[in-house]
Amino acid sequence: MTAALETRGLAKRFGGLVATRDVSFTLEQGARHALIGPNGAGKTTFVNLLTGVLPASAGRVLLAGEDVTSLSAEARVRRGLVRTFQINQLFGDLTPLETLALAIDEQLGLGGRWSHAVGGDAVVAEITAVAERFGLADVLDSRTDTLPYGKQRLLEIAVAFACKPKVLLLDEPAAGVPEAERRDILDAIAALPVEVSVLLIEHDMDLVFSFARRISVLVDGALLVEGEPEVIAADPRVRAVYLGGNDHG
């Protein structure tokens, strides 16, 4: 079976600095895969290369076997490669309703229409479904920046979900969320449909080990090791560079 997402020899250099070195990585269909690594390991650069925010210096990115290396960020989104953002990058003075409508209109290919107001049965039905799935129905019409942080993080995932991802990159989805609201995020992530292949980029080891069935460790821009959670937790190199000896097995 073709991998959902694959990179071959992916590299990124900023002048003399090598941020990503020769990363060949495979995300299987329906994966629940986590990418971990210490600060400065190049996780963000790797995500930016995958999503097309940064052009790669070398190597290729394949989405469902199709080479997307030269495609723009938005073209990749339309092919089903969608990401969430680590720190809040939502449109603060728009409502969740508008934000979801925006994503859904683009998804349905209606984003360029100017002769009709935002709305329509298909869009309304989709917004309603997504809002209910992520527990946002009661806050849809409030300004996004007035929502509790947990709700904003849920909206972040909901918006990505509204783009109908085949591959979803979750960039630290629970970072900064108060303990009381954390459960909702974890539940939302756990309830993602099986046909969506998920790559979780995360610092939080509890989340990683509860979610992932496979883990890759990025160190210094290169893949150090990849394997099942028990293998990673037991790997002495990983413990040395990353886990600091704590037992997460």
Binding site: R78, A101, G111
Partner: protein, 321 residues
């Protein structure tokens, strides 16, 4: 279903809007004497509405918006002089000409910072002004385009000395283009522009084709500005190099900032306030009104900073306070 209703509410006509348009059209029946200035206000408002589409909604700042005003004015003026004196044909031609220029130059404003855009737009307007100056056989050069005479509007209404027909013409054009602008900003296209202005990277991560949308809105705004230029040329029966000048671009930016960018009526409100202020100051201190208007603007901008949306906010942050 309430989601559908909440979305529909965005585009709903507000009472204030309806009252405003009724009042604006009722002003046609005022006794003669104010229509010339009302006509000027309507044209300035249309020009500012055009700028609002790119600055207030898409976040593209421009210091050369007069390029489109000037091109529209010359297109309408030349058509009237050489081909037909039908005003509506001139209006249509000017709109198409300015839209073409907008499309062609939109590729220059897709990338780069606000500062780059200021320089590029300024440069385009200067180029066109100099081009008009260098072609005196066509444009009349520094003397301006003489001998522009207009036929009756729709073949029925002669332009009168008091500007009543002119005001009716400009106001109707403003109204129709406001309907277009309204449709645009409340549409999915308009929503995607608002997203681009707020966070371009984020918009593209939702699948918004940023460049395509910016090209479209820049072309549309240029068309609006071209229409304003045509109205100005036709209702004053004169076109000069001054139409391309920097002060035109700067004035319209000030008008939009006074009225507030990004809510459609900022251009109209700004145009009314700006003209009223200019009028009042000129009456009190004919020699020094520009001093007072400058002082007012400085005070206004310092106190009303939160009204400066999008590009202006970025600009202020860049240059410090």
């Amino acid at each position: 279903m309430w989601v559908g209703q909440a979305l529909a509410r965005r585009a709903r006509w507000r009472w204030a809007e309806i009252v405003f348009w009724l009042a604006a059209f009722a002003a046609l029946f005022l006794p003669a004497g104010r229509h010339l200035i009302l006509n000027e206000i309507a044209i300035l408002a249309l020009f500012a509405l055009s700028l609002d589409l790119i600055l207030g909604y898409a976040g593209i700042i421009s210091l050369g918006h007069a390029a489109f005003l000037g091109l529209g004015a010359y297109a309408a003026g030349l058509l009237a002089k050489h081909v037909t004196d039908d005003p509506t044909v001139g209006l249509a031609l000017a709109t198409v000409a300015a839209a073409s220029l907008g499309f062609a130059t939109s590729f220059l404003v897709l990338r780069g910072s606000d500062l780059t855009r200021l320089m590029v737009t300024l440069g385009v307007a200067m180029l066109l002004g100099e081009l008009a100056n260098a072609l005196p056989d066509l444009t009349g050069g520094a003397d301006g385009l003489q001998g522009v005479t207009m036929g009756p509007l729709l073949g029925l209404f002669e332009f009168d000395l008091y500007g009543r027909v002119a005001y009716a013409y400009s106001l109707t054009t403003l109204f129709v283009l406001m309907l277009v602008a309204r449709a645009v900003v409340y549409s999915p296209f308009g929503l995607s522009l608002m997203a681009i202005r707020r966070n371009r990277l984020r918009a593209s991560a939702l699948g918004v084709p940023v460049h395509k949308r910016l090209i479209a809105v820049y072309t549309l705004a240029a068309a609006f500005a071209g229409a304003a230029g045509a109205l100005l040329a036709q209702t004053t029966a004169f076109v000069s190099l001054d139409f391309f000048e920097f002060h035109r671009s700067a004035d319209v930016l000030l008008v939009l900032i006074i009225g507030g960018a990004g809510w459609l009526y900022g251009g109209i409100l700004g145009a009314v306030l700006y003209e009223a202020l200019q009028d009042a100051l000129a009456a009190v201190t004919p020699e020094y009104w520009q001093f007072w208007i400058g002082l007012f603007l400085v005070a206004f901008v310092m106190l009303g900073r939160e009204r400066l949306t999008g590009g202006m906010r970025g600009l202020l942050a860049r240059f410090g306070r």
